[in-house]
């Protein structure tokens, strides 16, 4: 039985033998990769409607770029968290790689990456769809813009929740002290 209590030959044993470095690296990749996916998704949804609507109503272009900026902010959250996470990644001596403390740190970075990545994915899509409807409504009736913007602000708060929790999780990532 290994130090984490799993019997050799079981799936649990295979899982705890995956290096914590792997989990950390995947977490960091997901943090930035999936956030950018969400931001790009939102920007294309908003952008195509904005361009089409601006042909008949050119006045909407400058105001509705706010929707695109909200989507872009989602990608920036992903970059920030990825940079923070990579500073948390430390090397531990060979003998301590599979210690429970190491695994905990690896899992913390992985979880933080998933939290931020997927929260930003749905936030980007949400803000993008609302931004598309905002552009089309603004083209018809300019009093609607500010009201729909409030909905967008609530939508973009979702990404912020993900970032906050992700950063709190990453503070848990303490690798074992070198013996």
């Amino acid at each position: 039985m290994s130090s984490t209590g799993a019997y050799p030959g079981t799936w649990a044993h295979a899982l705890v033998k995956v290096s914590p470095y792997t989990f950390s690296a995947i977490g960091i990749a997901i943090a930035i990769g999936v956030s950018v996916l969400g931001a790009a998704w939102g920007i294309y949804i908003t952008g195509s409607s904005l361009i089409g609507a601006a042909i008949k109503a050119p006045r909407i272009t400058s105001k509705n770029l706010i929707s695109v900026i909200f989507c872009e902010a989602v990608a920036i959250y992903g970059v920030i968290v990825a940079i923070i996470l990579q500073t948390k990644l430390e090397s531990v001596p060979q003998s301590q790689i599979y210690e429970p403390e190491s695994l905990r740190a690896g899992y913390a970075i992985f979880a933080s990456g998933i939290i931020v990545g997927f929260a930003n994915l749905v936030c980007g899509v949400c803000v993008g769809i609302i931004g598309s409807s905002c552009a089309l409504s603004d083209a018809q009736n300019s009093t609607l813009f500010v009201k729909i913007l409030v909905i967008e602000i609530f939508g973009s708060a979702l990404g912020l929740f993900g970032v906050i929790v992700g950063i709190i999780m990453s503070a848990q990532a303490t690798w074992p002290a070198k013996a």
């Binding site: 998704w41 294309y44 949804i45 195509s48 409607s49 904005l50 361009i51 089409g52 609507a53 042909i55 008949k56 109503a57 899509v125 769809i129 598309s132 409807s133 552009a135 089309l136 083209a139 018809q140």
Partner: protein
């Protein structure tokens, strides 16, 4: 998957949907119609229209204007917008846009065949055809003597070919047969369009099903009313009804045996959406029925714009624009013939 179209619709259709919504904002409002209804002559109408989006199309027309010129230029604007959208569209939106014009193609085919029967000149007929329904070999329709030749020579290469399987006979063309041919073709077209929309799924299929069902039911009522007192047998009448819609199949059974308008009213009042239409007319009157149907259609078409990320907005826009052109034609005719009191008989306000 219904409900998740917002995620991927804008890849191919976002730009065109935004454009068609921009066009919709340019439809004439009730205040525009009120201004037009108070015009004294056609030049006044031209002046009022120059302030709307039709301005650039009408400004180069010399006075004196004719009503046909106004209608032609307005139709030209619709055709330009349609062609712009069609050339930007990808599949399946491009197929959907083409389906919208097949109804006009059928009308054009029937126009030329009827005109040839009454020995009119082909070029004169071609000028009267609706521009959205033109296809390359349309002029050769004048040569055909019966339906089989019609199909073999001309129509087999057009998109209307699959609709002909039910009405190829070797009888010579006469007025009655041509009307039956028109309705049979239109029935096949509506059913094909309905199946296509069902295949698309999502919000498109739901909204288009509603709009096409209303169209099918309206045609069923019109066929019934127009064939009262003619030689059309009940079975032939039943064959002309489409096999979808609110009235299918029980309403069709009852409509097929109707012999006057009050019986039709009795059948239709069993269906709540149509009860309100028929309640607007007093007994024995059928002139207002067309306008009542148009008003109901306009109401449903405007509702199609309430949802985003589907194709039915394109269909709704084309239909609303055609209704607007009908309104303009009626107003121009009333003004030109100095009968402004009858203007509100047939104008359907869109907003």
């Amino acid at each position: 998957m219904y409900g998740f179209e917002a995620l991927t619709f804008n890849v191919d259709g976002g730009y065109l949907e935004a454009i068609v919504r921009g066009h919709r904002a340019g439809l004439l409002t009730a205040s525009d119609y009120n201004n037009l209804c108070q015009c004294e002559n056609l030049d006044d109408i031209k002046m009022h229209l120059s302030a709307t989006e039709y301005g650039s199309y009408l400004q180069n027309e010399p006075s004196p204007l004719h009503t046909t010129t106004i209608v032609e230029k307005c139709t030209l604007k619709l055709v330009d917008e349609y062609k712009h959208m069609l050339c930007q569209a990808t599949e399946p939106l491009s197929t959907f846009l083409e389906y919208i014009t097949y109804g006009h193609m059928i009308d054009n085919v029937v126009l030329i065949v009827t005109g040839t029967l009454h020995e009119r000149d082909v070029h004169e007929l071609l000028e009267k055809c609706h521009p959205l329904g033109m296809f390359d070999s349309i002029a050769t329709l004048a040569v055909a003597q019966n339906m089989r030749e019609l199909y073999r020579l001309v129509l087999v290469d057009t998109p209307l070919a699959p609709y002909f399987s039910e009405c190829i006979t070797s009888e010579d063309l006469d007025d009655m047969n041509i009307e039956i041919m028109r309705n049979t073709l239109y029935k096949a077209y509506l059913e094909d369009f309905y199946r296509f929309c069902q295949k698309l799924g999502g919000a498109t299929s739901e909204i288009m099903s509603d709009l096409l069902s209303f169209e099918a039911d309206r045609r069923a009522v019109n066929i019934t009313i127009n064939s009262i007192g003619t030689e059309l047998t009940r079975d032939d009448r039943r064959k002309l009804y489409s096999n979808f819609g609110l009235l299918y199949p029980y309403g069709h059974e009852e409509l097929a045996v109707c012999e006057d308008i009050d019986q039709v009213r009795g059948v239709m009042e069993k269906y709540p959406p149509y009860q309100s239409i028929f309640a607007k007319m007093s007994y024995g009157e059928s002139q207002m029925l067309d306008k009542a149907f148009y008003e109901e259609e306009v109401k449903r078409l405007c509702l199609a714009f309430e949802q985003q990320f589907h194709y039915a907005v394109f269909f709704a826009y084309m239909r609303l624009r055609e209704q607007e052109i009908r309104n303009l034609m009626w107003i121009s005719e009333c003004v030109a013939q100095n009968q402004k009191s009858r203007v509100h008989d047939s104008v359907v306000f869109i907003f």
